[in-house]
Structures are given as C-alpha cells and as structure tokens.
C-alpha cells in the first residue's frame, strides 16, 4: 500500500504511467527502422552499378585518355588516334537540334499552358505531346529518314540528323516546360489579371521569370539525351568515318555527312577489327563525361536560379 512518504508515480488518464511502452508503440518503432533500412538498401543498390560502370570504364580507358585523344582524329583505319571528328560532330548535331527545338518547344508550351482553353482539340494536342515523348528513338529515326533525308531532300546530312534529334527532343521539352510553368502559383496570375494585365504581360512579368530555372533545366537535360542517342543520327547523317582536320572547329557543312560520338562508339565496338582495347572505352568515357558535365551544369544553373527564387 502506498503512503505519502513514497515517491509519487505520475499516472496518465487511464491509470498507467505516461510514456509507458505499448505493444503498438514497439511495433511502430520496428516498422519505422525496417522501412528505413529497405529504402536505404534500394538507394545503395541503385548507386552500386553506377559506380561500378564508371570505375570499370575509367580503368579500362586509362591508357588512352589524354588531351591528345580528344583533339586528334581517328587514324590508321580508326584503330589509332583520337575522336575529334566524332566529338565535334556530336556538338554540332546537339547544338543545331536544340537551337531548333528549344524555342519552338518553349513557345508551344507557353501557349498550351497559358493560353489554350480546355477544349477537345487541345486535349488531343496534349495527348499527342505526351505520347510523342514516349516514342522510341528508332521510330524518330525512321521518321527523320523519310521526312528530312528524302522528302525534304536534305540528303544524308548534318541538317537532317539535327532536325531528327530536334523532333525527338521537342515533345520532352514541351512537357518539361509545361511542368515548370504549371509550378508557378495561379494566384500570381490572378493578381495580375485583376489589375488589368494582359495574358502576355502576366507571362512576361510573373510567369516566365519564375519558371525560367525549370525551363532551362528541362532543355539542358535534353542535351544529354540528344548526344547519347545512336539510332536517329545513324539513319539520317552520321557515318562510319569522315576525314577531318585535327582540332578543326568547322569541319562540317550543313549538307555534309558527319561523325558522332554515339555512332563512333557503336562502330568501334562492332565494326572495326584490331582496335586498341582502350580506345572504345575512352570514347565511352568522353561520352559519359560530357553528359555528366552537361547535367552538372544543369544542376548548377538550377541552384543558382533557385537562390534567386522569389517566393
């Protein structure tokens, strides 16, 4: 029996001490640590192959990697030398395709997100954009072959290949731009409309300044996609080998055929006998490196613009 002299034990409303362990509470804690462990394991599982790939590539490519490898052209039936012709070709293709796709994609997205009403016509356009973004690149390649190489008579050329890449990246740019625009709160637009701003004044004054980081990120991520795809350029303008001067900045005209990194890697690994072991690996490292570089630039840009974000 308890007396007043004994220390008092606090009791909750149901008579038990507060914060006492319950079976349910213990189960909850167990679940919590189990969930955490599973998620962590999946994250590590995801990172492991990536690290393995990069490590393997760099180790295998190490003997060939040098600045000279970047600047020199392939020599001796592509078994020696560097990859300048392919590197500069890829830069050309990506730059031209983005110069075409980015303005069209961004402006179309602005129309779809800011102007278009919810009609059946616009729903079909939306559906088309979403589906086009999911079309395999080989299909875009066939379309480019038919449309640009033959129908438009650009021939097998830088121009045809760039436009094919542009067609491939366009729907994704539209989708990512729309997402960035939709992230700007509607309340901002309504505030502008209430004071007599037109749609365009609203877009210029409030919507674009606050979505530009997302828009640019979406565009830049398409750089890596355009650089990496093989099929679209293989069908429309990229060739096995093209003689180019070492380090030349303007090796291709728009109606020339060109070399491209992705295509070059495919060719080195499957078509050319007696290539030094390190050269295809070094090519892959350059391709991967440039993609990572561009993605890093996208992240940097996003961070920089987000620091200026205003709400």
């Amino acid at each position: 029996m308890r007396t007043d002299a004994q220390p008092r034990v606090a009791a909750g409303p149901d008579g038990r001490p507060p914060f006492a362990e319950t079976a349910y509470g213990r189960r909850k804690l167990r679940q919590e640590s189990a969930a955490r462990a599973v998620f962590l394991a999946m994250t590590l599982l995801m990172v492991a192959p990536l690290v393995a790939i990069v490590a393997h590539l760099v180790v295998e490519a190490w003997p060939a990697l040098s600045l000279e490898f970047l600047l020199d052209v392939p020599r001796n039936r592509m078994t020696e030398g560097g990859i300048w012709s392919a590197l500069v070709g890829t830069i050309y293709l990506v730059a031209i395709s983005l110069a075409v796709a980015a303005p069209i994609g961004v402006l179309a997205a602005v129309y779809l997100n800011e102007y278009a009403k919810d009609t059946w016509f616009n729903r079909i356009i939306n559906l088309a954009v979403i589906n086009l973004a999911g079309v395999p690149s080989i299909v875009h390649a066939l379309f480019g072959l038919g449309a640009f190489v033959y129908a438009a008579r650009f021939g097998f050329s830088v121009m045809a290949a760039s436009l094919t890449l542009a067609i491939m990246t366009l729907p994704v740019i539209i989708a990512s731009t729309r997402e960035a625009l939709a992230a700007v709160p509607t309340a901002f637009r309504e505030a502008c409309w209430n004071v007599g701003a037109s749609r365009w004044q609203t877009i210029r004054g409030v919507v674009l300044p606050n979505s530009i980081s997302g828009i640019l990120t979406g565009i830049i991520l398409q750089v890596s996609r355009a650089a990496g795809e093989t099929a679209p350029v293989m069908f429309t303008g990229a060739v096995l080998y093209k003689a180019v001067e070492r380090g030349s900045l303007f090796p291709y005209y728009l109606d020339d055929q060109c070399m491209a990194l992705s295509m070059h890697l495919y060719v080195l690994t499957t078509q050319v006998p007696n290539v030094a072991h390190a050269i295809p690996y070094a090519t892959a490292v350059v391709l991967l490196g440039s993609v990572l570089l561009v993605n890093a630039a996208a992240i940097g840009l996003r961070v920089w613009l987000r620091n200026r974000k205003r709400w």
Binding site: K117, D118, A187, F188, E190, A191, C192, W193, N194, V195, G196, A197, S198, Q201, G205, V206, P209, N210, K309, R310, W311
Partner: protein
C-alpha cells in the same frame, strides 16, 4: 460635373452557374457612385463570384456560365471589347494576400506599367501615394527594392490593397480585406476607405457584419446565391429589417 442620374453599377437578373451548380440565382441591384456598398452573407452565398462577374475574371473559370447583365457606367461589361481597360477601372482586393514575386516597388508599379506608364517620376509618385493609402508606406519606404513575397501576411495584404489602387480604379472591390490584418491597421484602412469614397465607388464584401455596419452606406445580404435584402444601413442593421432572415443573420441567430 453634372450629377449622373444613372447608377455606377447596375446588375440585372444576374445568374451564374458552375456547370450544373448555380452560384448566383437571379440577383438585381445597383451601386450608386461614391457610396460604399457592403455585401454580407454566409459562405457559398455568391459574394466572391459576384465580384468575379463584375471584372470578368469569371472568364478564366472553365465551365462558368453567366446570364443577365452587369452595366458599369451604363455599358454592359460583357460587351466591353478591351477587357483589360475594364479591369483597370475596377480595383480588386482578394481575401488572401498575394505579394507578387518582385520588389515592393514593382508590385505597385506593375499595373501602371501594364497600362503603358513609363515615366519614372509618375511611377514613383503613384507608388508612394498608393502605399500611403494602404497604410504601408512607413513600414517599407526604406526597402522598396526588397521582395514583396518576403513581407508578413498583413503587410502583403496591404500591399495587395496598394496594388488595387495603383491603376486608379473608379470602383474598388474589397473581398474580406481584413482577415489577415490586425484590428488597428484595419481601422486605419477603414479610415482610408472613408476618404477614398469621395473619388471611388466601393464594394465591400465582408464576413464581419460589424464592419459593414461601420463602413457601408447601404448593405446587401446574400444567401445561397439569392439576394435577401438590400437597403440603407439604418434599415438593414435596425431591429426591424425588411426580412426576418436578415435580422437573424446579423444578430447571430444563425450563420
């Protein structure tokens, strides 16, 4: 100036439906120039929708269907070709504060700029005048370049009011302007509204029946999209308004 026999705003048989849901069911009233019309009523009574019909931002709502007419200065708002000009003539203060993601100065200068005013001197003058009217000037005059979105809720609400005044409207609509503002500032703004009445016509939507009683010349009681009663405050807030429901709502028996 000759006295205009016509009311500033005339609303006739206004109906509004969102899809199949009727939000306003045939409302007719008018607003005289330079009066303050209070609009009271419980949630979902159509107060905010009414304002959106007036400045035609209802156009942006998909599925909204408006019938009946609203005339401003005798002109049907749905026939107005330059809808941006219509909206410039009607200042609108939304219930939730929205500071635009730009500097305080730009927040207030945005509307004049959209109206084509570029002179720095004129913009400066307007920004100061509007911020003073919204009782915000003293708090922000030293940091006009900082972001409007970084202000506190109450300050942003006053910024919203300054913005609504910045395009020099003839009609000012305030939708629950005081829910984010402390009582002292609310009183300051109410004083400003009494001043402004000489120049503009004011529609004051409010959940605070006492605010309508203090401020308005006439008050309108809406319920479920129908006009229950409109009349001078002396009648509406008396012990014997025309409708029993009005008395019950105002004295807190329901709603």
């Amino acid at each position: 100036m000759a006295i205009d026999p016509r009311a500033k705003i005339e609303v006739e048989g206004l109906r509004l439906a969102y899809g199949h849901r009727e939000a306003i069911r045939g409302v007719s009233f008018d607003v005289q120039a330079n009066e303050i019309l209070g609009i009271i009523g419980p949630a979902q009574s159509g107060k905010t929708s009414l304002l959106r019909c007036l400045n035609r931002t209802i156009d942006f709502v998909a599925g909204a269907h408006v019938t009946g007419t609203i005339r401003v200065d005798g002109e049907d708002v749905r026939r107005v070709r330059d809808v941006f000009d219509l909206r410039r003539r009607i200042g609108m203060v939304a219930p939730l504060p929205v500071g635009l993601p730009m500097s305080i100065y730009d927040n207030v200068a945005f509307a004049p700029r959209c109206a084509g005013i570029t002179s720095r001197g004129e913009l400066d003058g307007r920004v100061e005048r509007c911020l003073r009217q919204a009782a915000l000037w003293d708090e922000v005059k030293d940091r006009l370049g900082s972001l409007g979105t970084k202000l506190s809720g109450g300050q942003q609400q006053r910024l919203t009011i300054a913005r609504a005044l910045s395009h020099e409207p003839e009609i000012l609509c305030l939708d629950e302007f005081s829910i984010a503002i402390d009582p002292v500032t609310t009183m300051r703004i109410e004083d400003v509204l009494r001043e402004l009445k000489r120049e503009v016509t004011i529609i004051l939507v409010t959940n605070l029946t006492q605010q309508a009683r203090r401020l308005a010349d006439r008050t309108m009681f809406l319920m479920a999209g129908e006009l229950v009663e409109i009349g001078p405050n002396a009648v509406v807030f008396s012990d014997a308004p025309a409708q029993r429901k009005t008395y019950e709502y105002i004295s807190g028996l329901f709603g």
